[in-house]
């Protein structure tokens, strides 16, 4: 992986809070889908990165909206150091 393409932030899902309301999947539809119970599922990347979804920089704003609008505060953006 080239260093330039490597994203520095992830969208973290707190599964203990997530209730699968589906707002996030509408706001970042390229990153998140929903399973049969309504819970978000990462559409790309390895299964091990499904709780910390790599954020391309151009999706930062949409992801920030998802964090703000999540009804149960289950999302946060974690900036990787």
């Amino acid at each position: 992986m080239s260093a330039a393409k490597k994203s520095t932030s992830v969208l973290h899902i707190d599964w203990t809070k997530c209730d699968g309301r589906g707002l996030c999947a509408e706001l970042v539809p390229d990153l998140l889908g929903r399973d049969q119970w309504g819970y978000p599922i990462a559409l790309k990347g390895s299964p091990s990165a499904r709780s910390d979804i790599p954020l391309p920089s151009q999706r930062m704003d949409a992801a920030t909206d998802a964090v703000r609008l999540c009804p149960v505060l289950a999302l946060k953006i974690v900036r990787a150091s």
């Binding site: 707002l23 609008l69 149960v72």
Partner: protein, 185 residues
């Protein structure tokens, strides 16, 4: 001048009730997790929030104009502590109770990221007490509270909130109710 304050005080009260009614109904739709035709879930959530803010603005105008209006005999303490008023203290007190509840709901909503989802949700439940108290206050305290046109307006608001609430407690309320049936969380 005071005539205008008096009129505006009453109109803003009615407007506040109208917008709070709309916000309650939209809030219930938000909780169901269902989108509306042409309106994604996040839009409903945003409209719910923005209409609630609009309703709160009208509520503040309602209270401020009536404090400024000498005929209303409303003191600042009456906006926070119920049942102390000199004019219809009981009906006015109900308005104060509703105002206090809204204050708590708005503050916990604005600061929910810091207060946590649990406190936010707990306080938000008080909406179901706030709305009927506000309605009773509008009928009992309002100059036109028992006029036919106002009662018709209240009935329309009431039918909206009551039917939304019945839907809220029904088994199929949640978008995911069927898929998640059988396992309690």
């Amino acid at each position: 001048m005071s005539e205008a304050l008096w009129a505006f005080g009453r109109v803003s009260g009615a407007m506040s009730l109208l917008f709070f009614t709309a916000s309650v109904v939209l809030g219930i739709i938000t909780r169901s997790g269902r989108p509306l035709p042409g309106l994604p879930r996040f839009s409903i959530s945003l409209i719910h929030r923005n209409i609630a803010i609009l309703a709160s603005v009208f509520l503040v105008l309602h209270v401020v104009t009536l404090i400024l209006d000498p005929f209303a005999h409303l003191r600042i303490i009456d906006t926070f502590v119920p049942f102390l008023g000199s004019f219809k203290p009981f009906w006015q007190g109900l308005g104060t109770v509703a105002f206090d509840l809204i204050l708590a709901i708005v503050i916990t909503s604005l600061f929910r990221r810091w207060l946590g989802a649990r406190l936010f949700t707990a306080v938000h439940w008080f909406t179901y007490a706030m709305w009927p108290i506000a309605v009773v206050h509008s009928i009992g305290n309002g100059t036109n509270g028992t006029n036919k046109w106002f009662l018709l307006f209240v009935v329309i608001c009431g039918v909206s909130v009551v039917s939304a609430s019945i839907w809220r407690v029904s088994g199929r309320f949640l978008e995911v109710a069927e898929a998640r049936a059988g396992r309690a969380r």
